[in-house]
Symmetry: C2
Subunit: 238 residues, 2 copies
DNA sequence: ACAGCTAAGTGATGCAGGTCACACACTGCT
DNA sequence: AGCAGTGTGTGACCTGCATCACTTAGCTGT
């Protein structure tokens, strides 16, 4: 099967210069060559669905550029976002390895490029290159850990404020300043934030107001300034 | 390191006659032999902790008999039970493969027997027997799927009643009758059920009352009769 | 510049479920 | 028997959040 929504193929991004620790990087010359033969690269527009929850697994996607929203929806239409993936992430691996339907929907949040590796050739590749199978196992168990983090957040955090503080903290770790503050671009809508922490759009709005009032965060345009990580950590464990 | 709480060693239960699909069954003669050398068997009393959340992984446990409660606790003391494991389950696999701390606490709910396979020999074993590594990957992705089920339940189910109905349904699938009813032994306390579905003991009590009033379930002693699976399914999707 | 759309802020209301408090049932122990 | 310990059933109360219903802000194309 071909990758859907295929547009222009740009270049070989399997080399991932930035993140050499990733699944399909630093392979033996032979394995790398083989992988190059079975992968296909494509560019996807914003809103494109790489795969949809419940579909039979066609293959995995290695994200080169862009952000991807992973979400799952209940029959009644309630949606939760389980992860925002970015460069280097491998999507759909669990479904392919276990031959079960994709457990989430993967949607491009901005235009981006991804390599598609079809299911059958990938499974064959793993049989031929068993040294990669162990790395796959490690990637899977990393995925498992982040899933468990999610379970802890959803199951143990009492209030929406706590989950919200936790989310802000997880964001601020990427741009930490020495004084405990952090600054980042806010790319999600309140609606989407609500779907991450399991609450409504209105509550997220009110949480922002509250946190601003308490001087925990500051907001100018799309730039969010987290003024004090310690204060947020206080809320999380409260 | 030796398995803690070791008592009498009974017999070799790696053969798991009942569940040939499991991780360490149906191995090649050579691999099976090797595994036998590195495993050690022990009997654990009720309440014994096989491992505790946050500990560095010592190895995996293959459960031969007994039930094990897997749980995680927040700093404030709130606990959620993520899974009740029984015969054949492999515990601690993710932590060992990814070399991260155990993500849950594993406690014996009744006396039982388990094989312990220490970390280092196991990792070496996987390097030597790469055909097993793929099966490990599959086991990990199965674990991932059940974790995702958990996320869906915690994140998408609106009310405690919904989660409770879902739990009853998951129990009743093991003893299905042709008329849509099912019968099972209730081994958990209301407190524990609350920790599974993320609510309080009192609410579980009230849910039992309510479901009994609505003729959904019937309770005599420790025997729980589920009178109509369809009616429960109704509640779940509502 | 204006309509049209999506996102964000905010008030009013209602109720589900957490918390507290207490009574009762069952078990094993001495 | 009698008591302690653990599990269960229920009532009363109260709060935090979902829901509904608007308004306001910001952006996009014509």
């Amino acid at each position: 099967m071909r990758a859907p929504y295929g547009l222009n193929i740009l270049d070989n991004c399997l080399t991932c210069p930035s993140r050499a620790d990733h699944l399909f990087c630093n392979l033996s010359a032979h394995a790398g060559q083989r992988l190059n033969e079975i992968k296909s690269t494509a560019v996807y527009p914003k809103g494109a669905m790489l795969f949809i929850e419940g579909q039979q697994p066609r293959g995995v996607f290695v994200l080169c550029t862009g952000k991807v929203k992973l979400s799952t929806t209940s029959r009644e239409g309630k949606t939760i976002i389980t992860k925002i993936s970015d460069t280097g992430d491998v999507l759909g691996l669990n479904a392919v390895i276990s031959s079960r339907p994709y457990e989430v929907t993967a949607e491009m949040m901005e235009p981006g490029q991804a390599n598609f590796i079809p299911r059958e050739p990938l499974l064959q590749f793993l049989k031929d290159h068993v040294e990669v199978a162990l790395r796959v196992a490690q990637q899977l168990s990393r995925n498992y850990f982040t899933a468990y983090e999610e379970i802890r957040t959803l199951g143990l955090a009492a209030s929406p404020s706590e989950k919200f503080a936790k989310l802000l903290l997880s964001w601020s770790t990427r741009t930490p300043q020495n004084d405990g503050s952090a600054q980042l671009k806010l790319t999600l809508t309140h609606e989407e934030i609500g779907e991450i922490i399991g609450t409504t759009r209105e509550t997220v709005s009110r949480l922002f107001s509250e946190f601003r009032r308490k001087q925990l965060v500051q907001l100018k345009g799309a730039t969010l300034v987290i003024r004090s990580r310690p204060a947020l950590e206080e809320i999380v464990q409260s």
